[in-house]
């Protein structure tokens, strides 16, 4: 066919070639260069709910007034009612103290939020002055954060759950103060348990398996989409939490204990084998792609007898197909010696940037944001689980979050390995996800242990 030749001698074909190669390089470079760095400059203020009650009075107003006129730049949760309650607290603080609070909503994904803050901190930026830190990141960020010991009183530190203080204490520096938490919980259908003759939620995973099998066998006749148990099986941080709960409840450790990889043990293998046996039996095989949302939807549509989820799922009590038909219990224990319920601890803490230009004002804002009054306000109005037992015991908080009345045995993810935690978690959730989809558990655990040892060093 005829090739149209341009005056400069570049034929059409070669022009396409040049263009295509150039384009490929551009797009790839875009991919390789800082893709997905969560900024923290988007939106703000759009989501405040109209019916929010006034925020509690600022207990440390007198001390904070000394810094009137200073501006404090602070991370706030990026979406939902959490954004609204936090903004309400910021307004209250501004009004009472004269300290200006400039809010920076965080990206929805915790790893994006981390990547964004981490870049700012590593570059030595003075803002944000106050940062929100996911409980899995204090070890990675510790070097950039102000030591809060001596700035907060010992009485204030003692208000929090000790294990949360422990997670945020790195090299005996308190780098962040616990703000709110979240624990893995077992949701179960009270109506179905009654219908199939069970008087109480399962105490062990084996019991859960038996109950789910029986209920599913009965319900499946009328509803083919019904399954016994749904949880978070997708390859992501949520599966690391689920797997941690199985393994820890079987007295199989927490993957890495005392900086030594501990996952290659018979109890852990038994726990993972049981989980593997659920797939396609009491859990739909598609559970290997479920995150919190899919589990929430399946349980909320009445398609599951049991669900593992965080406290937020209690919102199903308002206007879902299962409203009034479910309750919350501690997660089952492993049916082995030393087995007991274990709940992955999630949550956030508040920290102050070491390079902040106004650390004193920043600490006062942190003090108000994490005060018992503010924590109770956020528990009632945005379902954030308090990080202080005293707040969790308040009657109005217990009414808002009934699950708080139950025992939890919080278990921390192996975050002590610091900056490599993301890699370790990826190793864990990818390996467990492959097991759930049928790969061999023993060899999978061995390979996981080897990969983790490579990271722990």
């Amino acid at each position: 066919m005829n090739e149209m030749v341009r005056p400069d001698g570049i034929g059409r074909r070669s022009f396409i070639r040049l263009g295509a190669v150039g384009l490929g390089a551009t797009l790839l470079a875009a991919c390789g260069d800082g893709n997905g760095i969560g900024g923290g400059t988007t939106g703000g203020g759009g989501a405040s709910a109209p019916a929010l009650p006034a925020a509690p009075a600022v207990s440390n107003a007198a001390a904070a007034k000394k810094y009137s006129g200073t501006t404090v730049v602070t991370d706030i949760p990026g979406f939902g009612t959490e954004l609204a309650t936090t903004e309400q607290l910021a307004k209250q603080f501004e009004a009472e103290t004269g300290v200006k609070i400039k809010t920076v909503p965080l990206p929805k994904s915790t790893s994006d939020a981390y990547a964004g803050d981490q870049r700012l901190l590593a570059a030595g930026q003075a803002t944000p002055d106050v940062l929100l830190v996911d409980l899995i990141y204090p070890p990675a960020l510790a070097g950039y954060l102000l030591d809060l010991k001596g700035r907060l009183t010992e009485a204030e530190v003692a208000l929090s759950y000790p294990n949360l203080i422990g997670v945020n204490t790195i090299d005996s520096r308190l780098v962040a103060y616990p703000w709110y938490g979240g624990f893995g919980r077992l949701y179960y259908r009270t109506d179905l348990l009654r219908k199939y003759g069970f008087s109480a939620p399962p105490k062990t995973w084996t019991e859960l398996t038996d109950m789910a099998t029986k209920i599913q066998a009965g319900e499946k006749a009328a509803n083919k989409a019904f399954s016994g148990y749904v949880f978070q099986g997708n390859a992501y941080e949520g599966l690391t939490c689920n797997a941690l709960e199985w393994v820890a409840s079987y007295n199989g450790g927490t993957f890495i204990d005392d900086r030594t990889v501990s996952i290659d043990n018979p109890n852990a293998i038994a726990a993972l084998k049981l989980a593997q046996s659920w797939i396609g039996k009491i859990a739909p095989s598609g559970v290997t792609t479920f995150t919190e949302d899919e589990a929430h939807s399946a349980f909320g549509a009445g398609n599951a007898a049991f669900m593992r989820n965080w406290e937020y799922a209690q919102d199903l009590d308002k206007g879902s197909a299962v409203a009034g038909k479910f309750a919350v219990a501690p997660l089952p224990a492993g049916a082995v010696a030393g087995g007991k319920t274990a709940a992955a601890a999630g949550g956030w803490a508040v920290a102050v940037n070491k390079n902040s230009k106004s650390p004193d004002a920043a600490v006062e804002w942190l003090r108000y944001l994490t005060s018992p009054g503010a924590q109770a306000y956020r528990a009632v109005n945005s379902a954030d689980v308090p990080a202080q037992p005293g707040v969790a015991a308040l009657p109005e908080v217990q009414t808002a979050l009934p699950a708080l009345k139950q025992e939890v045995n919080p278990v921390a993810r192996p975050t002590q390995i610091g900056g490599k935690y993301n890699e370790a978690s990826t190793v864990i959730f990818q390996a467990v996800n492959a097991m759930l989809r049928g790969s061999n558990v023993e060899s999978g655990v061995r390979k996981m242990a080897g990969d983790l040892r490579g990271l722990v060093g």
Binding site: G9, C31, A225, A301, G419, Q430
Partner: protein
């Protein structure tokens, strides 16, 4: 331009060449800033152990040596190539069929051509999230149809469980999403085929099938090449469809997801850059392949 003024010689050609360079100069300048600079930085970084918040040292080819033994990278490369081969082949065949159909005169053709673009116009993350809902095993519409309404299946099907099922599902979504783009490029190509050639063949007694293979397809080749190059580039860089459906699942991690994981999640900018460079080279190989094939066919 086709009218040559009398007496014009090679001087005009030189003048035109100069004008051409002048006209593309702004584009070249912009390309240098937004494409060449990042590309060069990426190549440079691939020879370092750069990490976010950490230090950066020249380590020569160490990253590439690590890549050679990285099973996760091999798996990512394979699934990306399988996905590319599968989707580009299906999209090319469907695209030709659609384009030929839309090139016929029929009532509502304009509306059909506009409607064709709808899947391509929806933001990927949104359309893929909707597909994810529809494919869901517990409450998705496909299983509702197959199991409860049409009784074609006994049990709800898990469209994402095995690697093969996942690859087929994700490919189906990509075919739905981008076949219209291929069809549109080919339609433009079809419209540039002169009608008299077709008519002459018809007068000579060639049937519609013969005409398609002897005239339409060969004349469509340049357009097809452009479509294939674009689709192949796109498919080799695939990120969103896989990421929305499977997150960071190991056996569905594509090359782009592996890059994102290393750079953003793990902060390994050096190693991630090395993977980017290899991906870039792989794409260059595919493009060279196409261009080479086309050149051979032109002889």
């Amino acid at each position: 331009m086709s009218v040559r003024p009398p007496g014009a010689g090679p001087k005009l050609a030189t003048r035109q060449a100069r004008l051409a360079w002048l006209l593309i100069a702004p584009t070249l300048a912009v390309t240098a800033v937004v494409a060449l600079y990042p590309a060069v930085t990426t190549v440079y970084r691939s020879f370092t152990d750069d990490t976010f918040g950490g230090t950066s040292h020249w380590i020569g080819l160490d990253n590439y040596a690590t890549l050679l033994h990285d099973a996760a990278f091999r798996s990512a490369t394979w699934i990306t190539i399988e996905f590319t081969a599968l989707t580009v082949a299906v999209e090319a065949v469907l695209g030709v069929i659609l384009a030929v159909a839309l090139n016929q005169a029929f009532a509502g053709r304009g509306a059909m051509r506009a409607l064709l673009l709808v899947p391509f116009a929806i933001i990927n993350v949104i359309s893929v999230s909707i597909w994810k809902l529809m494919f869901n095993q517990s409450y998705g519409v496909f299983n509702d149809l197959l199991v409860d309404k049409l009784h074609l299946a006994d049990q709800p099907i898990d469209f994402f469980g095995t690697r093969t099922a996942a690859l087929l599902s994700v490919s189906a979504i990509d075919v739905w999403k981008t076949t219209p783009f291929v069809a549109l490029l080919l339609l433009a190509g079809l419209q540039s085929i002169p009608a008299d050639v077709q008519e002459a063949a018809q007068v000579d007694g060639a049937g519609p099938i013969r005409r398609f293979f002897a005239i339409t397809l060969p004349l469509l080749r340049p357009a097809l090449l452009v479509a294939l190059v674009f689709r192949t580039l796109d498919a080799l860089r695939v990120f969103d469809v896989f990421y929305v459906l499977f997150g960071a699942r190991a056996d569905t991690t594509t090359m782009s997801i592996y890059i994102e994981q290393n750079i953003v999640d793990f902060g390994k900018a050096g190693y991630g850059s090395a993977i980017s460079v290899v991906t870039m080279l792989l794409i260059a190989v595919f493009v060279a392949l196409y261009v080479g094939l086309n050149a051979r066919a032109n002889k």
